[in-house]
Amino acid sequence: MHNESDPEGIVARILAALPAEDARPYDWSEFQRRRARARPGRRARTVGALAAAAVCALAAVAVWVRLESRTGTPAVTAPASARAATGSAAEEPRAAEAWLARLPHEPAIVQVGTRADVLGLEDRIAQVDDLLTAGGAGRGQGVSVLALQRERARLVSSLVQVRYAETLANESR
């Protein structure tokens, strides 16, 4: 194929004259060995990409929850609307709690560090629940109930992250 920059086709002729099979690849057994060696790596890359995507999604949810709770600050000065906001804030972690409820109480392989975090978070959620039960009995406590609901949502979000990381770690073993 000739071109203005190579009108006589010299370059084309020289390149076309190069042998089509001058390379000696490794043999079939070596190809098979490399292929077998690469398989776990491919799988690990896939699991790693999924884990990274999950962490990014959780981080985005956490930021969104935090921003949502900040936009609710005017409710602090208006107890009536604060109680309404408390109701919606209580709905947000519902999906996360449903997911947590489906998990076994303890994973198949227990890691000491992660388990301590999980137990700590569960204890704090239980304490917040106690306070909410006590606070809900009184009247005119809208602001503190709202703060407790937000704290609870934050703790549930953290618990979801830890347990999800725990689940991924167990699956990749």
């Binding site: 194929m1 203005e4 020289i14 390149l15 190069l18 089509a20 099979e21 001058d22 190809f31 490399r34």
Partner: protein
């Protein structure tokens, strides 16, 4: 020696290979591997990258063999896979980052050539050296246009660039190669191979 695009394999062997027969897969490997590695080396040079791309190309061949419908020779289908892998490599940001380091040691690929190709004639080594001195993108463009028969439009599409990109890369490659093949005061490669 057969060019990759012309290599075909019988339907019987293909059927066995699709069914996972290791013997048939090995026969296909023996038929296409040398031409495939040669083509990849024309694109990316003789380094370890060419081995990685070759391995990746062959793995893809076996993984996607069920999708090969046999409308063209197997080599033509495999050539598309190999070129696609090479272009992905050339476009990757990791390669661009590595180019900065390679620039510090610019002549290594060409210097290693005679050792890697001890059985090949001096003329071939000369042409390979000339190709190795081109920028990787220019080398890919000139090879696709002059040897593989791609049009400027097809090359532009492959690189996600304009037709003028392909034309200017080709023109620059021609200038450099012609200068390499016709050194002043000595017999040029072009003169040696001219009929």
């Amino acid at each position: 020696m057969t060019r990759l695009v012309e290599i075909s394999v019988s339907e019987a062997v293909l059927s066995l290979a699709r069914a996972g027969d290791a013997g048939a897969q090995q026969r296909i490997y023996a038929a296409v591997a040398p031409a495939t590695l040669t083509l990849i080396r024309r694109f990316v040079g003789h380094g370890a990258i060419s081995q990685d791309l070759f391995q990746d190309t062959m793995v893809t061949l076996y993984e996607q063999l069920a999708q090969f419908r046999g409308e063209a020779p197997l080599g033509a289908w495999l050539r598309q896979i190999a070129i696609s892998k090479c272009l992905m490599h050339l476009r990757s940001p990791w390669r661009r980052a590595r180019l900065c380091l390679a620039a510090l040691d610019e002549d290594t690929s060409a210097a290693a050539l005679p050792l890697a190709s001890a059985a090949i004639s001096a003329d071939v080594i000369d042409v390979e050296r000339a190709l190795a001195h081109l920028a990787p993108t220019a080398r890919a463009v000139v090879w696709m246009f002059e040897v593989e028969g791609f049009s400027h439009e097809e090359i532009a599409r492959s690189f996600g660039r304009s037709v003028s990109f392909s034309k200017s890369q080709l023109a620059r490659a021609h200038v450099r190669l012609r200068a390499w093949f016709a050194p002043q005061g000595t017999e040029s490669h072009a003169q040696r191979i001219r009929p």
